[in-house]
């Protein structure tokens, strides 16, 4: 299976990218790491007539803390984000998610923004973005616009990005200061790095007496896009996060789920397993927060 013919431009600047997108319209596609797009082109599920390569646009790569957020430029490699001190310190949930993303061969090329723009419903970066309430910046010659991740990722493999736009930045909220923070991502997958059947993400912040004052939870693989587990978050906020409380609160997400059956698992299985995975990730994040508290450290994902 070979890709259909296309024209290729290696863009040197963001202006290059945006000018080309404006001129070429929906026939052009941006290629970042290409770890999903090239496979789709090989299978002829995607047939762009023009590829705009953003891998050499310096303005689209890098990690920088800014106020209450960590800003990750769209074309930042997944391995580069994993190696970033800023991600480890200020985006502990993303740090916990990244080792689950694909394999080392795909993380070396794959990017943070590329994964979000592809919109796979089981992708861990999207799960993290939804759990944390991340925002994205879309650039175009008409100007930039900023969207909540839930307004950007609107369905399985579906985003609200316009044909003249390029995803430029992702803003991940930092955990609040002054709490002991723990984060965990857990999933069921046939092998390390395979597509997850069900994934769960949890970031938790505890006060000195062990009360939960910060909690962000998400589940993937059980709906067209990952689900923010708001009812469970509300139920557990202000508690001491006892195992029994977590187990009970995790079941509050069931009405939010609408899984489908596929070759990996049935809808019934996903529905049954999702609350358990959420509880498992929540307990792991709580335990890490407690470990950091005992060590007197602030946050961490390992």
């Amino acid at each position: 299976m070979k890709a259909a013919a296309f024209d290729y431009t290696r863009a040197e600047s963001l202006d290059d990218v945006l000018d080309l997108l404006r001129r070429e319209g929906d026939e052009a596609r941006v290629i970042a790491g290409g770890q999903s797009l090239v496979a789709m082109m090989a299978m002829r599920l995607a047939r762009p007539t023009h590829l705009i390569d953003i891998n050499h646009v310096d303005a689209l790569a890098g990690v920088a803390p800014a106020g209450h957020h960590v800003i990750i430029k769209a074309c930042t490699r997944q391995t580069a984000a994993m190696a970033s001190d800023s991600v480890r310190r200020d985006a502990p949930l993303l740090a916990a998610a990244l080792p689950h993303v694909g394999h080392i061969q795909t993380r070396n090329r794959g990017t943070i923004g590329g994964s979000l723009a592809h919109g796979d419903p089981t992708a861990e970066i999207l799960l993290t973005a939804i759990a944390l309430g991340a925002r994205v910046t879309l650039a175009s010659t008409a100007g930039a616009r900023e969207l909540d991740i839930t307004d950007f990722s609107i369905g399985a493999m579906e985003t609200s990005i316009r044909e003249d736009e390029c995803l430029a930045e992702v803003h991940f909220p930092k955990p609040p200061a002054g709490l002991s923070v723990g984060a965990a991502v857990d999933e069921i997958s046939p092998r390390a790095g395979d597509y997850a059947v069900i994934g769960a993400a949890a970031e938790i912040g505890l006060t000195e007496d062990g009360t939960c004052k910060h909690i962000r939870l998400g589940v993937s693989g059980a709906a067209p896009v990952p689900v923010l587990c708001a009812p469970t978050m509300e139920a557990l906020m202000g508690t001491r996060l006892a195992d029994s409380d977590i187990d009970e609160a995790a079941h509050l997400i069931t009405p939010l789920l609408s899984p489908e059956s596929d070759v990996q698992a049935s809808a019934a299985y996903r529905l049954r397993v999702a609350p358990g995975m959420l509880a498992r990730a929540t307990k792991a994040a709580r335990d890490r927060a407690k470990t950091h508290q005992e060590r007197g450290a602030g946050s961490g994902a390992t």
Partner: protein
């Protein structure tokens, strides 16, 4: 329309004209005659086409050759010793019978070489994770794990061996 590229492959700079739709693996095999890298699934699942791009393992079916202009590639051919003898990892695959049909072998060697460059003393679990992106349809995984473990032990005895081409880039 073709594009001119200049890419360093196993230490030698190569100039070529490529069509944008030609993948890196097809370029290596068809234009450069480096048939050690195998084409498996052609959509990023099997890992047989793994090569090192600027020293990091990638899948050469998920990158177009035109994108490699100015970069360095190491293929399985680049893992041998300067005199043409098998490298330590390759010899360890031989020693432990870590290949049957040989189709996955170049990808397994690239994945194993990358792991041992980063971590000369990996646990079996770390070895398994490092080759999780590479499928062996003969299902000979146990001997592959044995081979990488053996190569690690041999390299720790002869640390200068890590300065092979793949280790240097």
């Amino acid at each position: 329309m073709t594009h001119s590229i200049s890419v360093t492959v196993n230490g030698a700079t190569r100039q070529a004209e490529v069509e944008p739709r030609q993948t890196l693996v097809d370029f290596l095999r068809e234009q450069l005659g480096l048939t050690g890298t195998h084409v498996g699934c052609e959509h990023g699942v099997c890992g047989a086409c793994s090569v090192l791009l600027d020293g990091e393992p990638i899948r050469s079916c998920l990158m177009f050759a035109v994108q490699t202009d100015g970069h360095e590639i190491t293929t399985v051919e680049g893992l041998r010793e300067e005199d043409g003898a098998l490298g330590i990892l390759q010899d360890s695959f031989w020693e432990t019978h870590a290949l049957q049909c040989g189709y996955c072998t170049p990808g397994m060697l690239i994945a194993g070489q990358d792991l041992l460059t980063r971590n000369p003393n990996p646990s079996d679990e770390e070895i398994r994770e490092a080759i999780a992106g590479n499928l062996c349809r003969c299902t000979g995984y146990l001997q592959i794990v044995d081979a990488i473990r053996l190569a690690g032990a041999r390299m720790r005895q002869a640390p200068e061996a890590l300065g092979t081409e793949a280790g240097d880039v």
